[in-house]
């Protein structure tokens, strides 16, 4: 019987994923988003391999080439192929965003659960502290963190995790407070469950859905953030292929009419952010019980 149930449950989950995919594909806007997201994930693994040239190698004598058949996005001021770098850049930017957001969710959810479930002076204090952190603009905070700890991919990930964790902690706290008021939580106490079981087995699954939707929307923002930090020169250093850095390197050349060095990575950022935002938006609408599902 137990295996039977488990089988039903996994089947249910699989169906859920499939029906969400179907939901997105039926709506042209969301379908575009889904394609972008899937492409970006594909490029994380195969972007460098698909690049026609080594992304971090400069070809002397080929500096500042406009887009052509050999270099479809042109080359930059040190002679690196922009197309290869845009493809390879996916790995850095999207990975930073994914890992950073994942970490912030992993930190935020348990924190939110605990401070929502136990209501006392300390949990109130933590909740107010989270409000305080959230009141500082994300970009400024991330910049300060990276400035203090130094550049590098790990530090950017840490910064993204730190600035986003309060969002999830607060959301989870709100969810916990709401779920705690429902009598099934009381019933599970009646059954003799310990606090830990009540929190993780009963409250967590019921409070998780809005967090997922929020996290997906935030992925787009995290891509912006990681590109932004590198753009202002606080993040990864040249010659790493990273979109923000590429845009920043190209800005000086725009006045010379060499638009392609910053235009293409810029477009890559815009498209990716759009893709993840659409996915998040779709997820939010899909999960909204008031909206009609098909």
């Amino acid at each position: 019987m137990a295996e039977n149930t488990a089988a039903v449950n996994t089947r249910k989950k699989k169906n859920e994923l499939l029906s969400f995919m179907r939901y997105m594909l039926r709506r042209p806007g969301y379908a575009v988003g889904l394609i972008i997201v899937l492409t970006s994930i594909f490029l994380i693994f195969f972007g460098t391999a698909l690049a026609p040239y080594p992304p971090e190698m400069s070809f002397s004598g080929l500096e500042r080439q406009p887009p052509s058949a050999e270099h479809i996005f042109g080359t930059d001021s040190v002679g690196m192929d922009v197309f290869s770098r845009v493809l390879a850049g996916t790995k850095i930017d999207v990975t930073i965003a994914l890992v950073g957001t994942f970490l912030s969710v992993v930190i935020g959810i348990p924190l939110g659960l605990v401070i929502g479930y136990y209501k006392n002076f300390i949990s109130e204090l933590i909740a107010r502290a989270l409000d305080l952190i959230q009141s500082i603009p994300v970009f400024v905070l991330a910049m300060v963190l990276v400035a203090v700890r130094g550049g590098g991919i790990i530090n950017i990930i840490m910064a993204i995790a730190f600035v986003n964790a309060p969002i999830y902690a607060r959301m989870m706290r709100g969810q916990t407070l709401e779920q705690k008021g429902k009598s099934y939580v009381e019933a599970s106490r009646c059954a003799g469950n310990s606090d830990a079981v009540i929190i993780f087995k009963h409250i967590l699954p019921n409070g998780l859905t809005p967090i997922f939707a929020q996290a997906t929307v935030n992925l787009g923002m995290a891509i912006m953030l990681s590109a932004g930090i590198s753009f202002i020169g606080a993040g990864v250093k040249s010659p790493t292929a990273e979109w923000g850095l590429m845009v920043s390197m190209g800005t000086n050349e725009i006045i010379l009419g060499q638009w392609w060095t910053s235009f293409f990575p810029g477009v890559a950022i815009a498209i990716t952010v759009l893709g993840y935002s659409l996915l998040g938006d779709a997820l939010q609408h899909y999960l909204d019980p008031l909206e009609r599902k098909d």
Partner: protein
Amino acid sequence: MASDNGNIVLEVKNLVKEFKAPGSKAVVHAINDVSFELHRGETLGLIGESGSGKTTVGRCILRLIEPTSGSIMYKDMDLMKLSGKELRKLRPDMQMVFQDPSNALNPKMNVENTLLDTLNIKAKLSGEKLDTDAIIKKVLDQVAMEEDYRLRYPAEMSGGYQQRVCIARAICADPTLVVLDEPTSALDLPVCAGILDLLRRLQEELGIAYIYISHDLTTIKYICHRVAVMYLGEFVEVGSIDQVFNTPMHPYSNALMSSVMVPDPTKKAEVVTLEGEIPSPINLPQGCFFAARCPKATEECFKNHPQMVDMGGGHKVRCYRVTSE
């Protein structure tokens, strides 16, 4: 019902619950000195208006909220003195059925998992091995649910069936006491009748003691053996159904009984309408809590607080005008 002392399941003495009003320093006196006992296989009804503290009593007994003082003797243990772990061990013995079944079931758990949640804990805490599969089968049969409901989720069931699952969850661990907190108030009439019949049948089969909390006197009359009338956090009258419904002594019970609209047009009732509403539990009146609304109140009632007095046959009442006569 049973009245010999060897059969007492629960004995509550001087239960008090106070809590701070949110956002101010005022103290809310939710329960003021409640004492009663409950026998095996008996149903005690708690009636009272909203704000009378009846639900709080139910939750305090199970220590779902911590009482401020008093003692709750379950068999021969004082629940108030138990540590968290000892209490958890006793939990399967004392269950609760909640008011709104749609809220009382974890939406992410199907019927089987809901029951397993309770059963597994019982098995773990008591060290026994339980044949959970057989128990689930038996319990579903007891609450008159078909076997194929096993894998359904709460959202896929009607309110009546959800409440049946809640009852199944409460009885699956073989409890001695179940607190029923308005189990029918969220249900439609015919469904409600079915649930009441079910509860009554289960009691006969399993000998469970119920504490039935409700403001609906008709259902109380149908299911309870004894009844306690609550007003502003204390009992004002306790007695058998017959005593309290047919010869109510306290002026409040009297008014309460007369305001029931009997579904029989040939019995036009003489309604004693009370003026005003239940006072705030923050500033308790000095004398009898009911004095301000009581049609019979005298000077003494406003000055001193009356005590519960046994008027014979276990019919207790808290009123100067009744006890002094």
